[in-house]
C-alpha cells in the first residue's frame, strides 16, 4: 500500500508544503509538517514543492514494465454523418508536434461507414498512417462497437499515446477503452507536452473549476490516453501533397454487436453553430428579462457567425433551452470572443467561460463580478448596446 511520510530530520518547518497542498491536509506542529491522513489524497504536490527532500511518497510500483513496444501517436478522429469533426483536425495539429518530438508516426484512427473518400482530408492534415474501420454498425457512435474496435486496434498496434476530443462521444468512448486495456486516461487537457528523457506525455488540465491546474503523467502503463478540450489546440495546417498510408481493418461480425440501439438522432441546433465549436459566443443572463432579450442576442450572434450561450438563471427561467447553458452545470467553452450580456458573473458561470480569449461584458450594474474577468467592460443597458453592436458589426461585415 502506498504511503507518505515527513522525514523529520530534513523538515525545516518552512511551510512551503502547506501552500502547495490543494487539499488543506498539512499543518505545522512544533515547527515540523504534519499530514492529516484523513484529508491527504497522496497527490504528491507537497513532494515536488519541498525544497529539502523531506517528504517521501512510497508506492508499490510493482515490476517496471517494458514499454518499448509501444510506438506512435494516435488521434481518434470523430465523424458525424460522415463529416470529420473539427476537433479531429485540432488534435492532428497537436499530435503532429508530439509525434515529431518523439520521432514517431502520427496516426489517425477513424470508425464509420463509407468513409473511403475522407482519407485525403486526414492525410492533408498531417496523418502519416490512417487506421480505418468501415462497417455499417459504425455509421453513428454507439458505445459497444466503438469500444470493442478501438480496444482491438490498440491491442494489436500498441500506440504510446492516444488523443481524443473531450466531446460527448470522446469522453464516453475512451473512458471505457482505458479500463479495458488498463491504460491511464487524463480528462479535458488544455496543454500537452513531452518529457523526452522518460518519453512521457505531460498532460495539463484544470481542476476545481479551473481554480487549480494539474500536470499528470502515466509512468508505467501504455498507451497514455488523454481527452483534449475543444478550441484549445491549433488545427493542423493543410498540406495537399501529404499522403498517408491507409490500413483498412476488418473484424468478425461479433465485434460490431451493440447492446444499445440508436433509434434516432435529433438535431436541435438551427441557424447558429454549436457552442463548443463556436469561435464567437454571445451569451445572456438574467439581465435580458425574457425570451425577447435572446432574440436580440440571436441577431448579434447571426451577424458575427457565432453561437448563443446563456447563464443558468436564464435557462432555469425557460427563456432558452439547457443546451445553451454555459457554466458549471452546463458547458465549458473557450471561444476567441465571449460577449456576456446582462450576466452578473457568478463563480459557476465564470468556471465555464473564463478561458475565452477576449471577454466583453455588458451590464447595468458597475459592481457586477463579470467585469473582474472582462477584457472590455461596458456599463449600460443591454437593450441599447446590443442592437448598436449588431448595426456596427453588420456594417463592418457588410451583412
Amino acid at each position: 500500500m502506498a504511503s507518505i511520510t515527513i522525514l523529520l530530520e530534513k523538515c525545516t518547518g518552512c511551510t512551503l508544503c502547506i501552500k502547495a497542498c490543494p487539499f488543506g491536509a498539512i499543518h505545522m506542529a512544533n515547527r515540523k509538517a504534519v499530514i492529516d491522513m484523513a484529508k491527504c489524497t497522496l497527490c504528491g504536490a507537497c513532494v515536488t514543492a519541498c525544497k529539502f527532500g523531506a517528504i517521501e511518497l512510497k508506492q508499490d510500483a510493482g515490476a517496471k514494465k517494458d514499454l518499448s513496444s509501444y510506438k506512435d501517436v494516435w488521434v481518434f478522429c470523430e465523424q458525424k454523418k460522415g463529416f470529420i469533426q473539427s476537433i479531429s483536425f485540432e488534435l492532428l495539429g497537436e499530435g503532429r508536434k508530439l509525434a515529431d518530438k518523439l520521432g514517431v508516426k502520427l496516426c489517425a484512427v477513424i470508425l464509420g461507414d463509407g468513409l473511403e473518400s475522407k482519407m485525403d482530408e486526414l492525410s492533408w492534415h498531417g496523418a502519416d498512417k490512417i487506421y480505418l474501420v468501415d462497417h455499417p454498425a459504425l455509421k453513428s457512435y454507439q458505445d459497444d462497437p466503438y469500444t470493442e474496435v478501438l480496444v482491438k486496434l490498440a491491442q494489436e498496434y500498441q500506440p504510446e499515446i492516444i488523443l481524443c476530443g473531450a466531446t460527448t462521444i470522446g469522453r464516453s468512448l475512451v473512458s471505457r477503452v482505458a479500463i479495458k486495456i488498463n491504460a491511464g486516461l487524463t480528462a479535458d487537457c488544455t496543454e500537452l507536452d513531452i518529457d523526452l528523457k522518460e518519453r512521457l506525455l505531460l498532460q495539463t488540465r484544470p481542476a476545481f473549476g479551473g481554480n487549480i491546474m494539474a500536470t499528470i503523467i502515466t509512468p508505467n502503463h501504455r498507451p497514455q490516453m488523454a481527452t483534449v478540450r475543444h478550441k484549445v489546440m491549433k488545427e493542423a495546417a493543410l498540406n495537399k501533397a501529404h499522403k498517408a498510408e491507409v490500413i483498412s481493418k476488418r473484424y468478425p461480425e461479433e465485434v460490431f454487436t451493440s447492446r444499445t440501439r440508436l433509434l434516432d438522432i435529433v438535431a436541435e441546433i438551427g441557424e447558429t453553430v454549436n457552442l463548443s465549436e463556436a469561435d464567437i459566443i454571445v451569451a445572456g443572463g438574467r439581465g435580458l428579462g425574457g425570451k425577447q432579450g435572446f432574440a436580440i442576442l440571436g441577431e448579434l450572434a447571426k451577424v458575427l457567425g457565432g453561437a448563443v450561450g446563456a447563464a443558468r438563471s436564464a435557462v432555469d427561467a425557460d427563456w432558452i433551452p439547457y443546451s445553451h447553458q454555459v457554466g458549471q452545470t452546463g458547458k465549458t467553452v473557450c471561444p476567441k470572443l465571449y460577449i456576456a450580456c446582462g450576466i452578473s458573473g457568478q463563480i459557476q458561470h465564470l468556471i465555464g467561460m473564463q478561458s475565452s480569449k477576449v471577454i466583453v461584458a455588458i451590464n447595468k450594474d458597475p459592481e457586477a463580478p463579470i467585469f473582474k474577468v472582462a477584457t472590455y467592460g461596458i456599463v449600460g443597458d443591454v437593450f441599447d448596446i446590443v442592437p448598436a453592436l449588431t448595426r456596427e458589426f453588420g456594417r463592418l461585415l457588410k451583412k
Binding site: 502506498a2 433509434l263 436541435e268 473564463q354 472590455y376
Partner: protein, 260 residues
C-alpha cells in the same frame, strides 16, 4: 427495480477562493456538498422507484465524513446508503475509483440500473461513470437528459449531444449518467430528514468488497499528478464609457480582427 446511485462529496464551488498572497486554494471553512450533478441522479433514481417500485441505494467512496453526503441522499428519498472507505483508496485516479465502486456494486449484487451524475465538479473528468460500466461490462448511456420509457427489461432514453440529442434504447441492467436537464430535484422532506438522522449507512472497507489490493488507491492508478499550480487569475481590463453609439463603434474597431 433495484437502483444504485453513485455520488461524490465535493467542496462547494461557491466557497472556493484563491488566497491572493500565496496564490493557493483556500480550503478552510469550505463546506462539503453533494456534487451538483449527483443531485439530479438521486432525484431520477427516486422518480424511477416511485414509477416502478423497488429501492434506491446511495453509494459513495470517500473519507469517513462523506457519510454526511449519504445522509443527505437519504433525506432526498434514498432507502439505503453505503460508504466505501479505506486508507488503501487514497490516491485513486478514475481507473482505481471506478474499479473500487464496481467492486462495491458487485458486493451489492442485485441491481437493475446504476445512475451517476455526468461528472463531479471538483475533478470534472466524466470518466468514473463509464469506468464503472466498463469494469462491470454492462451497457451505458451517458449525458442522459430524459428517460422516456423504463421497464424491467429496457429503458428508452435521450442522450444529449453537441447538436441535439440521440434516442437510445438499452437493455437493463445498465448504467446511465445524467445531465441537469433531466429533472428538478426536490427539497428534502421532513420524513426524509428524520430518517436521515437515524440512518446508519453501511461502511465497507477494501476487504469487505474483496478488492484486489494492487488495483486500489495510488498503486492501482495508472496516472500520477506531478505538479499542481494556480493559473494566472484573469484580471479585469478596460472599462469603456461614452454614448451607446460611440462605445459600439469603438468596440467594433477593437474587435475587428477577431470577427473578420
Amino acid at each position: 427495480m433495484n437502483i444504485i446511485v453513485c455520488i461524490k462529496q465535493v467542496p462547494n464551488t461557491t466557497d472556493v477562493r484563491i488566497d491572493p498572497v500565496t496564490n493557493t486554494l483556500i480550503r478552510d471553512g469550505v463546506e462539503s456538498v453533494i456534487n451538483p450533478f449527483d443531485a439530479y441522479a438521486i432525484e431520477e433514481a427516486v422518480r424511477i422507484k416511485e414509477r416502478c417500485g423497488g429501492k434506491v441505494t446511495a453509494l459513495t467512496m470517500g473519507p469517513p465524513q462523506a457519510e454526511n453526503a449519504l445522509r443527505e441522499a437519504i433525506s432526498l428519498g434514498c432507502d439505503e446508503a453505503i460508504l466505501v472507505s479505506d486508507r488503501k483508496f487514497a490516491g485513486s485516479d478514475t481507473w482505481a475509483t471506478s474499479y473500487t465502486l464496481s467492486a462495491a456494486i458487485r458486493k451489492i449484487g442485485d441491481f437493475d440500473i446504476i445512475l451517476c451524475g455526468k461528472q463531479a465538479s471538483d475533478g470534472d473528468t466524466a470518466q468514473v461513470g463509464p469506468g464503472i460500466s466498463a469494469h462491470l461490462d454492462i451497457p451505458q448511456v451517458t449525458y442522459v437528459k430524459k428517460i422516456e420509457e423504463i421497464s424491467d427489461k429496457l429503458a428508452k432514453v435521450e442522450r444529449m449531444t453537441e447538436e441535439g440529442y440521440d434516442i437510445v434504447q438499452t437493455p437493463l441492467p445498465c448504467l446511465l449518467t445524467v445531465v441537469k436537464e433531466i429533472n428538478t430535484p426536490r427539497m428534502p422532506s421532513l420524513k426524509g430528514m428524520m430518517r436521515a438522522k437515524s440512518a446508519k449507512p453501511l461502511k465497507w472497507t477494501a476487504d469487505d468488497i474483496e478488492a484486489a489490493p494492487a488495483a486500489l488507491g495510488l498503486d492501482g492508478s495508472p496516472t500520477r499528478v506531478v505538479k499542481i499550480f494556480t493559473p494566472q487569475q484573469r484580471k479585469g481590463g478596460e472599462m469603456m464609457s461614452g454614448s451607446t453609439e460611440d462605445v459600439a463603434r469603438e468596440l467594433t474597431e477593437l474587435l475587428k480582427d477577431m470577427v473578420i
